[in-house]
């Protein structure tokens, strides 16, 4: 059998067995009645003890959502979603104010333990012998609709950093939330963002005060557990003047036959000289080998470089979800601000990925860089969709884009859809794109030197995505590299 064919067959065999995070946690939960109405919105808001202004904000979004239609322009296909057949709120029971980690349901702690996420700070500190100089990571864990634990709160507080569930921030720091929420992704932005604005239940809130470099990596770990439940998290990160923060996000879900909806909104704001580095390793359940089940991941992520010389950098490794619809973007408003987007999107089986970025140059001398690596295997479709635009006043705007696609087998597709607009004459945009196949010759060269078929594919793919992996924080890079191997190789992992 031809080497490539063999690889294709192996890749094809990957199904539910390969998804290591597919277990379900049996716990009691408290849910809002099924379906979506003003009452659902009121229910969620009441559950969260929200102030009246927040409820108003949600209701306004809900009313607007009723008038909107699902976007159809992406290269993805799926049956119509019945938005009345979903639960919009699910919280582990008993729901009481969690004062310490010991009050969390042990089943949930066990879940995060299985996932390898340390929620006990002691474990995080003493669990393993840590190489010198390794950074610690503060974790906010979101289970279905609520945040169950946030670690290292005290230490962060000393540095002046606020890192807490957004539901708490709405109560404790209403002035900050009011000032920033919805200013990057307005409630009217798009169908899913508007839906999120109406029903979001939790997520993370980060505020780094002027001149502070956040002393550790911040991380949120999202887990969908409950059946028929949508997860609508909302994350808001603000880096004030001269501040720096690096934020990591990870996601998994149990294996289920039905599709689950995930519609998150992430907003980032950087003031003068501030920098936010946002990294995602997304590994939602992708569905089985027949394309049944899996997460619909419809996410709006956007950063606003509001201040001069500020910087926002998105890095994503997307291996999961049945459908990915995601365009982490940067609005380069401040003069000399910079936006970056580094992406690895892997699709296998029947997965559909339509992902990319928008770099919107508004300020003078703004620069942006896009490095996208798409890998398509099985019967999947993998699309890069990107917009680079320079406003009339964005003189000397610069962009460099490189989109590379790698195909494994002959039943998958890779597509590149770049939109480029320059409205002033001093703009310089560069766009490079390549599409290649893992060739039989390359595989044969590797196996002739003693590598097994899988080792050869792994080596070639890791070489292909190297530029992006280098952008990830070290702890994540190792995880991502493993994840790439598991996603593509039938027998490894």
């Amino acid at each position: 059998m031809a080497a490539v064919q063999e690889t294709v067959d192996r890749v094809r065999q990957i199904d539910v067995d390969q998804y290591r995070y597919g277990f379900e946690t049996i716990i009691e939960s408290e849910k809002a009645p099924k379906g979506l109405s003003e009452d659902t919105v009121r229910y969620i808001s009441a559950k969260k003890n929200e102030p009246a202004w927040m409820l108003e904000w949600r209701l306004e979004a809900y009313r607007r959502w009723l008038t909107m239609e699902e976007p159809k322009w992406a290269r993805v296909e799926y049956p119509k979603i019945d938005f009345q057949d979903l639960y919009y709120y699910s919280a582990p029971k008993p729901k009481k104010t969690i004062g310490s980690i010991d009050e969390i349901d042990p089943e949930i702690l066990e879940t995060y333990k299985k996932l390898g996420i340390p929620l006990r700070e002691i474990e995080a500190l003493e669990g393993v012998v840590r190489p010198e100089g390794e950074r610690r990571i503060a974790v906010d864990a979101v289970f279905d609709s609520v945040s169950v634990a946030t670690t290292f709160q005290k230490e962060l507080k000393q540095a002046g950093v606020i890192f807490m569930p957004i539901s708490e921030a709405i109560r404790e720091h209403p002035e900050l939330v009011k000032q920033y929420l919805g200013t990057v992704v307005p409630t009217s932005d798009n169908f899913y963002a508007t839906l999120n604005s109406a029903v979001f239940s939790d997520g993370s809130f980060v505020y780094v005060p002027p001149g502070v470099r956040c002393p550790m990596e911040l991380s949120t770990y999202f887990r969908i557990n409950e059946r028929n439940t949508g997860q609508f998290e909302r994350t808001l990160i603000i880096a004030d003047k001269g501040a720096y923060v690096s934020y990591l996000e990870g996601c998994t879900a149990p294996q289920r036959d039905e599709n689950q909806l995930h519609a998150a909104v992430v907003e980032l704001v950087t003031h003068d000289d501030a920098e936010i580095k946002y990294s995602t390793v997304q590994n939602w359940y992708p569905g089985n080998s027949e394309g049944k089940g899996g997460i619909y991941n419809f996410v709006t992520k956007r950063g606003d470089c509001r201040g001069d010389r500020s910087k926002i950098s998105w890095t994503q490794v997307e291996t999961g979800s049945a459908i990915t619809w995601k365009y982490p973007s940067c609005i380069l408003r401040g003069d000399n601000s910079r936006g970056e987007f580094y992406s690895i999107a892997i699709s296998n089986g029947y997965q559909q990925v339509d992902s990319g970025t928008k770099m919107i140059h508004l300020g003078k001398n703004t620069t942006s860089r896009i490095i996208s690596k798409g890998i398509a295997a099985g019967k999947s479709q993998n699309t890069y969709r990107g917009l680079v635009t320079a406003h009339r006043k964005a003189t000397n705007a610069r962009n460099f884009t490189a989109c590379d696609s790698l195909l494994i087998g002959d039943q998958c597709g890779a597509h590149t859809v770049p939109y480029i607009e320059a409205k002033n004459s001093s703009t310089l945009f560069e766009h490079e794109a390549t599409t290649s196949k893992i060739s039989e010759d390359v595989l044969f060269y590797c196996v002739q030197r003693g590598l097994s078929q899988e080792e050869a594919v792994g080596l070639v793919v890791n070489g292909f995505v190297k530029d992006v992996l280098q952008q990830l924080p070290m702890e994540f890079a190792v995880e991502a590299q493993k994840l790439i191997s598991i996603s593509l190789e039938g027998s490894v992992g």
């Binding site: 059998m1 010759d441 044969f444 060269y445 530029d467």
Partner: protein
Amino acid sequence: MTALLEVKDLQVRVEDREILHGLTMTVNGGEVHAIMGPNGSGKSTLSHVIAGKPGYEVTGGEILFKGEDLLEMDPDERAAKGVFLAFQYPVEIPGVTTMNFLRTAVNAQRKARGESEYLVPDFLRKVREVAASLNIPMDMLKRGVNVGFSGGEKKRNEVLQMALFQPSLCILDEMDSGLDIDALRIAADGVNALRSPDRAMVVITHYQRLLNYIIPDHVHVMSNGRVVKSGGKELALELEATGYAQYEEVAA
């Protein structure tokens, strides 16, 4: 003594076309064999079938390597057992440094043979030693495998791997293609340094030129999928003078 490589009445097809129609040759340890012949005579097919490249169907005959049935083994298994093919056109692997590739390959082979993997310092020492003997700067090893290498650098990289893996059978497929005379001499010197009583080489070439640098013990002329004449090194010179035409008629 068992021969290192025995090819017996080998018949090979690619799709519907038979390329080798019963090829027989025996290679013993320590020998250097040259296989010459016109384009399309089946020289490269032979090298690919020995190394296990997919896409060829063996319809008859056998290949024994150290007495074992080579055709039963996967290509990576053959490599671990000591079969090395120096490619006519070595491929590029972007993003994978040559150093990383060499270490992955050498350890994969060692693992397959049940030997312990090289530790990084031991491996580095070994590579430095071998690279120095071939005049290969360490900087070249930090670049992606063959990416942006000149023709000469690519071939030297093949010889470097040969020296590192210490295979017992080296097949050199058209090593002289695309090389100027200086590059050819450097590569050939590297090959000659590897000649040893327990290692055999099969040198596939179109031109006699290469055989001025790598002097063979035996020369075989291939035409239309068969060995049509065998002899000593003088046969190569004879061919240079008379050309392949007479053999093509013999075969037809």
